[in-house]
């Protein structure tokens, strides 16, 4: 490992994470992004700009590649066997798929919350929140951890519910609490971007409401991308909406249209968007 290339690069992914403290959020830009599983192209030629400190919703019928696109944004896509990506994703101008970029650093900068709450089952609430901080061999003081845990749990609107049982297993919480615990775990490492793949689809309406309110407050600090199959949810929480669709049967998903959420829902440019939002398919 030489230090020269690091100094030459204007902003490394790892550095973005730290600068995120001062200037939160980051702009993501995809250019001709395609992703495949083995020989099957799941999405093709996605050109999408994701603005900082805003919520971008990815919507579209099931199987159109929303999750796939989301997972290309933090290089989780390549974890799937046979998965491949072409095109580029730039985070504040830096290509996440450049050869010298370590996907581990990308994932520390671009956090992710999954469809089903997945706290580490053997860890306590507290340990779950600091799990990301303990990675990468960074040693911190206990007090620092305590502060981060409280801040992250407050940020995830969970602090009051769990502050007296931080040592209980994370799996002992309710589904909605577990999902907010996962959000706390993700924001504890202070990412620039937060990706959420249908975070409410396994939750009851009250927990869903809690998470939607949480999104509204996280919006000021993070770039948020949320996949949802719930159009009302997209309308409620997002600033920008991107509509994906499969145009030919068995073919790849494509980005049909993107724009401010209010306009997308009132005056979509593409007839397919209108049909989907009007509930005529999907």
């Amino acid at each position: 490992m030489t230090t020269a290339p690091v100094q030459a690069a204007p902003a490394t992914v790892a550095r973005t994470a730290r600068t995120a403290d001062r200037q939160p959020g980051a702009r993501l830009v995809t250019r001709d992004l395609s992703a495949c599983y083995g020989g099957f192209v799941a999405v093709r030629d996605v050109n999408l700009v994701i603005e900082p400190r805003a919520v971008t919703a990815l919507i579209g019928p099931s199987g159109c590649g929303k999750s796939t696109v989301l997972r290309t944004l933090n290089r989780m896509h390549e974890v799937a066997p046979g998965a491949g990506v072409s095109g580029s994703v730039h985070l504040n101008g830096q290509d996440l798929y450049a050869p010298e970029v370590d996907p581990v650093n990308v994932r520390r900068t671009v956090g992710m919350v999954f469809q089903r709450p997945n706290p580490f089952p053997t860890m306590s609430v507290y340990e779950n929140v600091v799990a990301g901080l303990r990675l990468g061999g960074t040693r911190r003081r206990r007090r620092e951890h305590d502060d981060v845990v409280e801040e992250a749990l407050r940020g995830a609107h969970l602090w009051h519910e769990v502050k007296d049982r931080l040592r209980r297993p994370g799996a002992s919480l309710s589904g909605g609490q577990q999902q907010r615990l996962c959000i706390a775990r993700a924001i504890a490492v202070r990412p620039a971007v937060l990706l959420m793949d249908e975070p409410c689809s396994a939750l009851d309406p009250i927990s869903t409401l809690a998470i939607e309110q949480l999104l509204a407050s996280l919006r000021t600090d993070y770039t948020i991308v949320i996949v949802t199959h719930n159009m009302q949810q997209a309308a409620r929480v997002s600033d920008t909406t991107a509509f994906f669709n499969v145009t030919e049967p068995g073919g790849p998903g494509r980005l049909v249209e993107t724009g401010p959420t209010a306009r997308m829902f009132t005056a979509p440019a593409d007839p397919a968007t209108a049909d989907y939002l009007g509930g005529r398919f999907g």
């Binding site: 994932r107 956090g111 999954f114 580490f120 089952p121 860890m123 799996a171």
Partner: protein, 334 residues
Amino acid sequence: MGTTPRLDPALATSPDEDASRQVLGPAERRGDQVFRAVSRGAAQLILLLLAAIALFLVWRAFPAFQANTASFLTTTAWFPDQDPPVFGIAALAFGTVLTAAVAMVLAVPVGYGIALFTVFYADRRVGAAAGFITDLLAAVPSIVFGLWGLAVLQPHLGGLGQWLNTYLGAIPLFRNDSGLYTKSILVAGIVLAIMVLPTVSALSREVFVRVPATHVEAALALGATRWEMVRASVLPFARPGMVSAAMLGLGRALGETIAVALVLSAAFDVSWQLSEPGGNTFAANIALKWNEAGPIGLSALIASGLVLFALTLAVNVTARAILARRARFSGGAA
């Protein structure tokens, strides 16, 4: 499970229960009933068989216990056919446990390592090939391992023994006062390690592939490296299964006969010095002494077999119990 679906209690207790059954269909299909009966029968048969084996061993061992003039558990000699008979299992138990321990110390980390590599590190095709090759080791007959240990491994271990004696000789395990490095517990332990390796790695691989993808992704998405992911998500989930894999390997190491009988020098002593000639195990002793044994000798060998049986049974039952407890646990919350 197995409850008859019923519309309401009144119907269930009504005299014409058959009629309600016809409406609702039979409680259990014929195929399920047959399968349940067969599997329950098989389980009971196996228990019965185990009990019969234990009973047989006790019955045949009894004359030896009666005739023995020394303590069966603490004596380190084996003269059951002399008058008066003097024999005990102390040296056998010691040798059995020590060779198995050496085998475990070597095989368990390597077995876990191979399993982790094939599941989480290697390219899928390389991983499958590595797993397949390890499994092939299980197909090599014991006698071949024994011959290989004698002919190939042993001549190369003198150097290792000398090195251990020179640099780690302060530790009794590695000291060698005899200057001889053949037919040792070390050789037997290494041979056994290779023999139990496929057991450990195949069983732990099965546990690893069952780690839920959501746990793996949770760690990776936080920015964990592979090893951090293994520590955060895989090991906590897989630990009981890994313990069981090691225990089942241990069961095999304790009972292995012919390879050890070939390699060890069948001495009746208790010595911690791994690289010196000597050591003996239950199974090897039975194999070596059976043909020349008189009536009390046979009975004494069976008595030692009884102890080995109890030992391996305990190890296997413990391993299964750990697995079963885990199955109940993960069926719930996780």
